[in-house]
């Protein structure tokens, strides 16, 4: 068995409160049933699964959540939201993590390159969706 000591102090509580503010969801309603992760189409490509992200948010573990790839792998398909037995909008929580990074810690983001070649052949709807989710507006 391995242990890890974590701190839940003022900074963590502020982070939790901010995420709840932006998403409009109650993080503590989640009882870790795992249906979101089970239904997520991209679970196998995430480093932290969806329910793990929520758990770490409940404990205010800012660094672990903000440095994960998971929020950027999420494609807003909303399968998690539709299946949550506690009626939590899970996709909104994932989106608020993205928004938190975009608004307050944008240095964490890996800049994507939209080359002329790419932009030439992509359908405009792909660019619209991508810019809405990956840029600050």
């Amino acid at each position: 068995m391995s242990f890890e000591y974590i701190k839940i102090g003022k900074e963590e509580k502020e982070f939790i409160s901010k995420i709840e503010d932006i998403s409009g969801q109650n993080l503590y309603a989640c009882y870790q049933c795992g249906k979101c992760t089970a239904g997520c189409s991209f679970s196998n490509q995430m480093d932290l699964t969806v329910n793990q992200v929520i758990h770490r948010l409940q404990l205010g573990q800012k660094e672990k959540v903000l440095s994960a790839k998971s929020p950027w792998v999420c494609a807003s398909c909303l399968t998690c939201t539709v299946r949550c037995p506690r009626d939590i909008d899970v996709a909104a929580i994932m989106e608020s993590v993205r928004e938190y990074i975009l608004r307050y810690e944008p240095e964490r983001i890996e800049r994507m390159k939209v080359t002329e070649e790419k932009a030439k052949k992509l359908p405009n709807i792909a660019l619209v969706g991508s810019f809405r989710k990956n840029t600050e507006l």
Partner: protein, 240 residues
């Protein structure tokens, strides 16, 4: 014969208003345009001034009015001063311009997205149309460009004078007037068909049909030119 009134006397009769140029208040005659009023107040305009006729887009001015929270924008040479106007000028607007060779690109959505992918960020907030001094529906032509309807975009953007105010107000950081220029160039080059009389005339010129005529005119003195000008043929509009 009218009695000549000295300028000093005339000044006291003038109706004045107070305008604030970059925070400093000035009393200026109420009949002047913003541009004239700035010069009346003592400013020497080296930037932000051009044709003085509402066509070049150099004198973009942003202002508020006393007691009114709204932001207004217009051309300094075309707008009359109002009491309580609180203004500044935008002589230059930074906006990235894409480089392209018009002969090597096609009029399609992929061209618009290739050079200006940011049009996909348009929020449809309409801040751009509201600030346009030419009353162009800027948001609509950006949307037409996003939908690939380049001919409609070009027609809607016809009156654009490239003042840049739209690009400054845009929350999605789109350089609208550059997008319009690309659309207009594509439309003109690929959609508009040149009349065949134009081609014929160009051919005639290249074949040297008018060489002798030009040489003759170039050899005339100023007096002779003036005589020729007055005696020229012109179409009587009423008869034509």
């Amino acid at each position: 014969m009218a009695k000549a009134i000295s300028m000093r006397e005339k000044k006291e009769e003038l109706d004045t208003v107070t305008i604030y140029i970059m925070g400093q208040g000035y009393k200026v005659p109420s009949s002047l345009t913003i541009m004239k009023a700035m010069e009346y107040a003592g400013f020497k305009l080296k930037r932000g001034v051009g044709c003085r006729a509402g066509f070049c887009g150099a004198c973009a001015t942003v202002y508020r009015k006393l007691g009114d929270y709204k932001i207004y924008a217009n051309l300094a040479c075309q707008t009359k001063v109002e009491d309580g106007m609180y203004l500044t000028q935008l002589p230059f607007v930074p906006a990235n311009k894409a480089e392209y060779n018009l002969d090597e690109i096609k009029p399609s959505i992929s061209t618009m997205l290739r050079f200006y992918p940011e049009i996909a960020r348009c929020l449809s907030c309409n801040a751009c149309s509201r600030v346009c001094p030419q009353d162009i529906q800027v948001m609509d032509y950006v949307q037409y460009s996003l939908q690939g309807q380049i001919d409609k975009a070009a027609e809607l953007a016809f009156d654009c004078i490239q003042c840049g105010l739209c690009a400054i107000r845009c929350p999605a950081e789109i350089p609208q007037y550059h997008v319009a220029t690309l659309a207009r160039r594509l439309h003109g080059r690929y959609h508009m068909i040149a009349p065949d009389t134009l081609e014929q005339r160009v051919k005639e010129i290249e074949e040297g049909k008018y060489e002798k005529g030009f040489e003759e005119l170039m050899s005339l003195s100023e007096e002779e030119l003036k005589k020729r000008y007055v005696a020229r043929d012109f179409i009587d509009q009423k008869k034509a």
